[in-house]
């Protein structure tokens, strides 16, 4: 899935580690790690919740970029 994110940057701004951020969002530390690595695309509700914790917009944290393979 061509979903990129800058969650790590936003989390660092809040001064939280993955475990603390996961607790605030209501998911496990592992899920936050998966999202940051781009291995898991969160649901709309989870993305909105993350954006709300980061006091930002979903589009600022998550970006959809088409892969070269998909364009072809």
């Amino acid at each position: 899935m061509p979903l990129y994110n800058s969650l790590k940057v936003f989390r660092a701004r809040l001064g939280m580690n993955q475990a603390e951020f996961g607790k605030a969002v209501g998911v496990s530390r592992q899920t936050i790690s998966l999202i940051e690595r781009g291995d898991y695309s969160p649901s709309v509700s989870l993305a909105l919740k993350i954006a709300s914790i980061c006091e930002s917009n979903v589009e600022d944290i998550f970006q959809y970029r088409e892969d070269d393979n998909e364009k072809q």
């Binding site: 993955q18 998911v27 496990s28 899920t31």
Partner: protein, 254 residues
């Protein structure tokens, strides 16, 4: 276009059926020759020897698997006791080792539990000179495995207090999965679907083996009925559950 696709599918199906029938015939002929061979006589001796000493296998099962599971449980508990991760890397490393030990303990306990049942089933045989001891041992070891399984679940819940569910309750699976976050739920559902797909093939193979057992070893009709019922039940449960989203107004998958 549609009819050519259908013709292709029928051709493939016919080829598979002819190939399967030829393979089955060859396997049956091979099996019949194998039954008459001296290897079969020595295998029967092995079976009699195993059933004669099944009590000792019953002792070895909890000793080997149970003690290994207990060791892993203690390792996981000690890790949790000394847990003081501050950075993401420390948290990642802790979770990796904790999961390795707790999941390992859970896996070994489940294996031990199932093996205990299989050995008990085999021990109720006239060839076993210690049937009564076997029954007592089975009654004693079952709670041990159950307690270790409970211990592993409680330890996982202690590490992640978000995980809910009382393992002694019938609602445990439902409560557990509801307390998992969306990524964990997807992992569980993926594992469940892969298990379903695997079991579809595995049950077909087991069913063929029961057919061979009936013809070659006088295995009787009961294994065929049992395996066939499990095969039928698994598919019925899957299709019933796949219909549930349709009833809730969501497109189903079948």
């Amino acid at each position: 276009m549609k009819s050519s696709k259908m013709t292709g599918a029928i051709g493939k199906l016919a080829t598979a059926m002819i190939f399967g029938a030829a393979l089955g015939m060859a396997a049956m002929l091979g099996l019949l020759r194998f039954i008459e061979s001296p290897v079969m006589a020595s295998l029967d001796g092995l079976r009699q020897g195993f059933l004669g000493h099944v009590f000792w296998f019953q002792i070895a099962c909890p000793l080997l698997l149970g003690s290994s599971a207990l060791y892993m449980l203690f390792k996981a508990r000690n890790l949790l006791k000394n847990y003081s991760a501050h950075t993401d890397e420390e948290g990642e490393a802790f979770e990796m080792f904790f999961h390795r030990y707790s999941a390992g303990a859970l896996l070994l306990t489940t294996f031990g539990f199932i093996l205990n049942f299989i050995l008990f089933g085999l021990s109720v045989d006239p060839l076993n000179p210690m049937i009564q001891q076997s029954i007592v041992l089975f009654i004693l070891t079952c709670p041990v495995f159950a307690l270790m399984e409970l211990g592993a679940i409680f330890l996982i819940q202690k590490q992640d207090p978000v995980k809910k569910g009382d393992p002694m309750s019938f609602d445990f699976n439902r409560n557990w999965i509801e307390s998992c976050d969306e990524a964990e739920q997807i992992t569980i559902y993926k594992a469940a679907y892969k298990t379903f797909s695997f079991m579809k093939t595995a049950l077909l193979i087991i069913f063929i083996l029961t057919l061979y057992a009936k013809f070659a070893f006088d295995g009787g009709n009961l294994p065929i009925v049992f395996v066939g019922s499990i095969w039928l039940l698994q598919n019925m449960v899957f299709f019933a559950n796949s219909e549930k989203p349709k009833k809730a107004g969501v497109p189903g998958i079948c």
